[in-house]
Amino acid sequence: MFENPVFRETCVVLCGFGLAACLAAQGAEKGQRKLPKPEFYAGPVSVTKVTGRIELIPGEPPRSALSVQLQNRGDKSESIGVAFRGNEAQRVQLGTKDGRQLQLTPTARHSGSGQGPQGDRVDLTPVLNGHPPGHKIAEVDLTIVLPAGVPGLIRSNMPLQRTTQNDRVAYRLLRKQVYLTELVVVYTTGPVTLQIEKSIQPTGIEPGPVEVTLRVTNLGKDASNILLEDTFDPRDFAGEGPEFKLYAGKENDRRLVWKRMIGELGAGKTIEVKFRVRAKLSVRHRSLGAAKATIERRLVGVSNKIRLRGK
C-alpha cells in the first residue's frame, strides 16, 4: 500500500487530516477506481411470479403493465425495495410468510424508424433492495402485443409462443424457474415480415458436407427482391459457387458470406431454400449465427441461431 516513499511521508503528514482522504489520493494517483461488486439478493423474499402485458408501439418504447408477485419466506417481517432494474424502487412491508402483488414498470429502449424495422429492449430483471434476486422466479407469463397490422416479430432473444389478443398478433413468454434479464424484440411496420427457420443436416457437424435449410414464410404482403444472407466462419466452413464470397476485412477479419436473391414470395407463402457448406473440422460448443432477409437493405426477417452442442 505504502510502497512509494514520497507518498508514505506525505501520508504520515496527512494522516492527521484523515487517512481516508490519503488513501483516496493514492488511488487517484494510480488511476484506479472502485468497481461495484455484482451482487444478488439472498434474503428471504422471493419473486414468485411475473405476469402482464407489453404493448409494442411504433416509433417509441413499449407500454408495459406488469405484475410482480412477492413472497416472504422468512420468519420475520421484511421491508424491501422492489423495482425492475433501472427504475425507482417501491418500498413494501411484508409480514411473516406474507405475499404481495405489485404493479411495476420495466425500463425499455427503442431503436429504429417509425416506418421500418424497429427494436425494443425491455429489462425484465426484477431487483430486490437494488439487486437481482438470487432465487429463480417460479413462473413467468408475459404477453407481448404487436402494433395493429404487424403480422409477426422478426426476431426475439427469448423463446416466445405466437398467439393473438383482440385481433392483434401477440406472443407469450412462458417460463418456469428462471432468472429474467433483458428481452429484445424486433419487428417492422413495413409491408413484409418473414419468418425464417434455419436448420442443418446433419445436426452434429463433422468434417464434410452440411446442408443448410432456410424455411421462409411470408407473414405480410406480397414480397419481391428478397436478399437472403447467411455467414459462416471460414476457419470452420467452406462454400463453393457464385453465392459464396470470402470477406476479408482490412485488418484481422475473415468471414464466409452466402447470399441469394429471391425474386418473389407471395403473401402467406412458404419456400424452402437450401444450400450446402463443407465443414473443415468438427464444430461443437458454439452457435451458428442467424440468417437474415432484407428488402432494399431493410430488415424483414431473421432466423433462429443454431447451438451446436458437444459430443
Partner: protein, 359 residues
C-alpha cells in the same frame, strides 16, 4: 519467431523434479494431483515412503501449516480445499514420516494456488474522446473495456443469470467459481453477439450518434457501445442483439469478465501472427486457455485454427492494443502457462494454451 512444436518432455515430471525440496538425502515423498491448482477446487495430496529405508510408524501430511492427515503406516492421502485464502500465492505441503527408530523425516513441496476472482478496482478511462480511444495509441483496456459504464456491469450480471438458466445452476454457484464466470461470459457473448464487418460497424456507429468515434487501427468497439448501439436498428439491419467483428467479441468478453471481478492479470486479448484474428487468453481451470467464438469448452484441448497462432497480447494492465515486440513480450511473459512461475522451462509457444501441451 520461436520454433513452435510439440514439447517432448512431460511437463509434470519436470515440475516435480524442480520443485520438490528435500530436507535431507533420505526423505519421504509428497505429491499434489495438480501442478496448477485452482483455488476453487479441491486438491489431493499423497505422501509416501520416498527413498526412506527402515520402519515408518506414521505418515502425516501438513498443508499450509496444518496437519490434514495422520495415518498409520508409511503412506497417507488427503483431500484439501478449496484454498481460497491462498489465492494467488504459494501453498506449502509437507510429508512428515515418524520413523520406527525415533525421529522424523520430512519433505516439502509447494503449489501456486490461482484464483482470479474478487478484483474490484479498475483503471479509469483516459481516452481523449470522452474517455474512448481517439488514436491507436489510446486503444487501452481502460478505454475499451469501459468498466465505469453501468451497462457493462449490467450485462455481466445478465451473463451470470442466463448461464445459470442454461446450466441449471444458481447465480451463486456461477458467481462463486472462477471457471463458471469464464464459461458464463463465453456462453453469453456467443448467445447474443454475431459477427459483422468493420465497414458496417463504422456505419452503424455514425448512424447512432458516434460519428466522432475514431479509434485508429482496426476500429475496435468499446464494450459499452457494443452493448448499447451495435444492435440498434437505426439505419442498420442487425441479426443479433450485439454485433461486431473478432476484436469486438474479445473486448466484450474481457470487459464482462472484469466487471465480474475477474483479475486483470488473468484475462488477455490475444492476436495471432500473421495477423488474422483476435480472441482471448484466459485463466481457466488453473491454466491459461483460449476463449473465442463459442463456449469455452471448444478451445481447450488442441490447436485447430491457424488463426490461433497466438503472438501478441494486451489487457487492462498492459497495452495499448497493438502488434509489436512489446505486446508479444506481454503475452509471452505473463501467460507461460501456469500462474506462479511453474513453467516447464521450455520456450513459450502458442501451443502452450492447449491441454495436450500444458495439461
Amino acid at each position: 519467431m520461436r520454433k513452435l512444436g510439440f514439447r517432448p518432455t512431460p511437463r509434470v515430471c519436470l515440475v516435480a523434479a524442480t520443485l520438490l525440496a528435500s530436507t535431507g538425502c533420505k526423505s519421504p515423498s509428497i505429491s499434489v494431483v495438480s501442478i496448477h491448482p485452482d483455488a476453487d477446487k479441491q486438491l489431493n495430496f499423497t505422501a509416501g515412503r520416498g527413498n526412506l529405508s527402515g520402519g515408518i510408524d506414521r505418515m502425516k501430511i501438513e498443508v499450509g501449516g496444518t496437519i490434514i492427515a495422520d495415518q498409520a503406516g508409511d503412506s497417507a492421502t488427503a483431500t484439501g480445499g478449496p484454498y481460497l485464502p491462498y489465492s494467488n500465492t504459494r501453498l506449502t505441503a509437507r510429508a512428515i514420516a515418524n520413523l520406527s527408530g525415533g525421529g522424523t523425516k520430512s519433505k516439502s513441496t509447494w503449489v501456486y494456488v490461482a484464483n482470479p476472482k474478487n478484483v474490484f478496482a479498475f483503471t479509469s478511462p483516459s481516452g481523449s474522446n470522452s474517455g474512448y480511444p481517439n488514436s491507436t495509441a489510446e486503444q487501452t483496456g481502460a478505454n475499451l473495456y469501459r468498466l465505469d459504464k453501468a451497462v457493462v456491469r449490467t450485462h455481466a450480471i445478465n451473463a451470470v443469470m442466463e448461464y445459470a438458466n442454461a446450466k441449471g445452476l444458481t447465480v451463486f454457484e456461477v458467481q462463486n467459481v472462477a471457471d463458471n464466470l469464464v464459461a458464463a461470459v463465453a456462453w453469453y457473448v456467443d448467445e447474443h453477439m454475431t459477427w459483422r464487418s468493420d465497414t458496417v460497424n463504422r456505419t452503424v456507429f455514425a448512424a447512432n450518434g458516434w460519428a466522432s468515434y475514431s479509434p485508429g487501427w482496426d476500429f475496435p468497439q468499446p464494450a459499452d457501445l457494443t452493448l448499447t448501439i451495435s444492435g440498434n436498428l437505426t439505419n442498420a439491419s442487425p441479426n443479433d442483439d450485439f454485433q461486431g467483428d473478432c476484436e469486438d467479441h474479445a473486448i466484450l468478453r474481457a470487459a464482462l469478465l472484469r466487471a465480474l471481478g475477474f483479475a486483470p492479470w488473468a484475462i488477455w486479448d490475444a492476436i495471432d501472427n500473421p495477423v488474422t484474428h483476435e480472441y482471448n487468453v484466459v485463466l481457466y481451470e488453473g491454466a491459461f486457455r483460449l476463449m473465442d467464438y463459442g463456449e469455452i469448452d471448444r478451445w481447450l484441448t488442441s490447436h485447430t485454427w491457424n488463426s490461433h497462432r497466438s503472438h501478441y497480447g494486451w489487457n487492462e494492465d498492459n497495452g495499448p492494443r497493438g502488434v509489436n515486440a512489446t505486446t508479444h513480450a506481454y503475452l509471452q511473459d505473463h501467460t507461460d502457462n501456469y500462474p506462479g512461475g511453474k513453467s516447464d522451462g521450455n520456450p513459450w509457444s502458442f501451443q502452450i494454451y492447449y491441454k495436450v501441451i500444458s495439461p
